[in-house]
Amino acid sequence: MKIVVCIKQVPDTAGGVKFKPDGTLDRGAMLAIMNPDDKAGLEAALRIKDADPENVKVTAVTMGLPKAMAVLREAVAMGADEGLLITDRVLGGADTWATSSTIAGALKNMEYDLIITGRQAIDGDTAQVGPQIAEHLGLPTISYAKEIEIDGDSVIVKRMFDDGYMMLKAKMPCLITALSELNDPRYMTPGGVFDAFDKADKFVTWGRAELSVDDSNIGLKGSPTQIAKASDKVAKGKGTVVKPDSPQEAADCIAAALLEKNII
């Protein structure tokens, strides 16, 4: 069984978001991490491999600048068999359409039974790339996976919603988008880290020439949408400070405020 996991290198928003003067994200000023939903997807694939290590192969795929190799190394250090980096200057500036077209263009030249992507990336927050890849490849999609189980040539997935869940079964090949709630991803191992640097044959880099995709669907020119401006979350106001004299008075203040907003 061959599982391809699509992962993305994203800026770590835990330390705050930084912008360039032109309003675009200053990626160079922020630490880069593996997107959390993607990491959960990778963990799900590795657990499938744990159950049958001889017959399951996990390949991590990412598209990005050459420095995105770092997330592929992390994936291999966690236990993935190999990493594929899709990188080419002509692919730069891609929106979700061009990105999914490009990744699908790579997948057309790969073998797979199951594709797992994260639900959405913490930088773009679109949740579009995974399902779009499936559309380009003509595959069924199950999004928002909280549990994944392999059942012969099918997958059984618990698909989460705010107020409930669905149990869905699909024949492979298919694509699943993973929620970070899916699992608690494993740590790398020290030996895995060494393999990720010492075993060059675990990594492949593909450029434009290796992709089965039309020029009209890649890069900035192939992107129907473009970002005009990005901004951080709107800062919260200072709030109201009260200094009650007793716990009873404090509780009354809170209750009154909640009543006023019709929360209780």
Binding site: R73, E74, A77, R186, Y187, M188, T189, P190, G191, G192, V193, F194, A196, F197, D198
Partner: protein, 386 residues
């Protein structure tokens, strides 16, 4: 000469730091308070390969270098010195001698499960009457020709990973010979002893000033019979083996000391930025600034010595002086830095919740075990004055 870590070691450090922050740090206060061995953390470290970092993959290890291993000890010590010494004693003092002196059979039987973390290791040299003066050791091993077994009698004290370990490296004298001046000298040998061997029991659990979650026990051997094949290395060469083992161990303890100092400084820097006196943060006072600068300089110097010693071990050959220098300086740095951190944090520094007082208590042992600072000075000056 390049003082910058390469990407591979930086990634390994990020792994250890991430693990230490998420798994060891939240338990550090409780481990100290309850004096409970951090079994759950050790289980997790086993799962992710932390218990066999410098062991070749063919023996179940991770195939990394000594530098990677000591960075693991350093990062753990930043948040919990107890957790770091579990790894250090297991790796440097039990795994390393088997890797160095073991036969292929001994490696398969003992090194593989130790490196995989399925078994925990310990090392027993010190005795109630024999610390720095190893010749004073009374534990004796006699060979029983009839049964082809070694018979151990005696006791060992202050043994790290004491009751928790499964496999023990035990030093005992096997022969008494006369030196050139006609004085009687004990000849020591090294043995591998498994927990559960009849005649091998545990004495008192030590109550300690620091590293309180570390399991420190007395080991008692009463007609403890062990197979002939459990002699590790050559009969009569045990003292040299033990000293060589301690050379490696000292780099681990130096890394522990370095981590303790770094952890204390990290907390103190965060505190002095927040703490306000006389209308401004205490970080704005020149005394604070100079103390922080001095401590950071000491720590950086210690780090360079510790990493240099680890790299000397990787190169092979003798590294006794490098290890002694690193341990001496790092241990005294840890004691000095943690004491100053408590002082800078004032009353809060003395309160357990703020953790630097624990680090000050933990730091003290690094000046004592695996060779006191005085022993390190003897090793260093001995090499210079011979």
């Amino acid at each position: 000469m390049d003082f910058k870590l390469d990407e591979k070691h930086e990634m390994a450090r990020s792994l250890f730091r991430d693990f230490a922050e998420k798994e060891a740090k939240p338990l550090a206060i409780e481990v100290d308070e309850t004096e409970e061995f951090p079994r759950e953390t050790v289980k997790k470290m086993q799962k992710f390969g932390f218990m066999g970092i410098p062991v070749p993959k063919e023996y179940g290890g991770q195939g990394c270098d000594p530098l990677t291993y000591i960075m693991c000890v350093e990062e753990l010590a930043k948040v919990c010195a107890t957790t770091s010494v579990v790894v250090s004693a297991h790796t440097s003092l039990c795994i390393d001698p088997i890797m160095t002196y073991g036969t292929e059979e001994q490696k398969q039987k003992y090194l593989v499960p130790l490196a995989k973390g399925e078994k925990l290791g310990a090392f027993a040299l010190t005795e109630p009457g024999a610390g720095t003066d190893a010749q004073g050791a009374q534990t004796k091993a006699e060979f029983d020709e009839a049964t082809q077994e070694w018979v151990l009698n005696g006791s060992k004290c202050f043994i790290t990973n004491g009751k928790e370990a499964d496999i023990y490296i035990v030093i005992a004298y096997t022969d008494i010979v006369e030196d050139k001046k006609g004085r009687k000298q004990k000849r020591f040998s090294t043995f591998i002893v498994e927990k559960g061997t009849p005649g091998f029991t545990f004495g008192v659990k030590e109550k300690k000033m620091g590293i309180r979650g570390s399991s420190t026990y007395e080991l008692i051997f009463q007609d403890c019979r062990i197979p002939k094949d459990n002699l590790l290395g050559v009969r009569g060469k045990g003292f040299g083996n033990a000293m060589h083992t301690l050379d490696g161990g000292r780099i681990g303890i130096a890394a522990q000391a370095l981590g303790i100092a770094e952890g204390a400084l990290d907390r103190t820097i965060a505190y002095v930025k927040e703490r306000k006196q006389f209308g401004r943060s205490i970080a704005q006072f020149q005394n604070t600034q100079f103390q922080i600068a001095n401590m950071a300089t000491q720590i950086e110097a210690a780090r360079l010595l510790v990493y240099k010693a680890a790299m000397a071990k990787a190169e092979g050959g003798s590294y006794s002086v490098e290890a002694a220098t690193a341990k001496l300086f790092a241990a005294e740095t840890a004691m000095d830095v943690t004491t100053k951190c408590v002082q800078l944090m004032g009353g809060y520094g003395y309160i357990r919740e703020y953790e630097v007082e624990r680090m000050m208590r933990d730091a003290k042992i690094t000046e004592i075990y695996e060779g006191t600072s005085e022993v390190q000075r003897m090793v260093i000056s001995g090499a210079l004055l011979k």
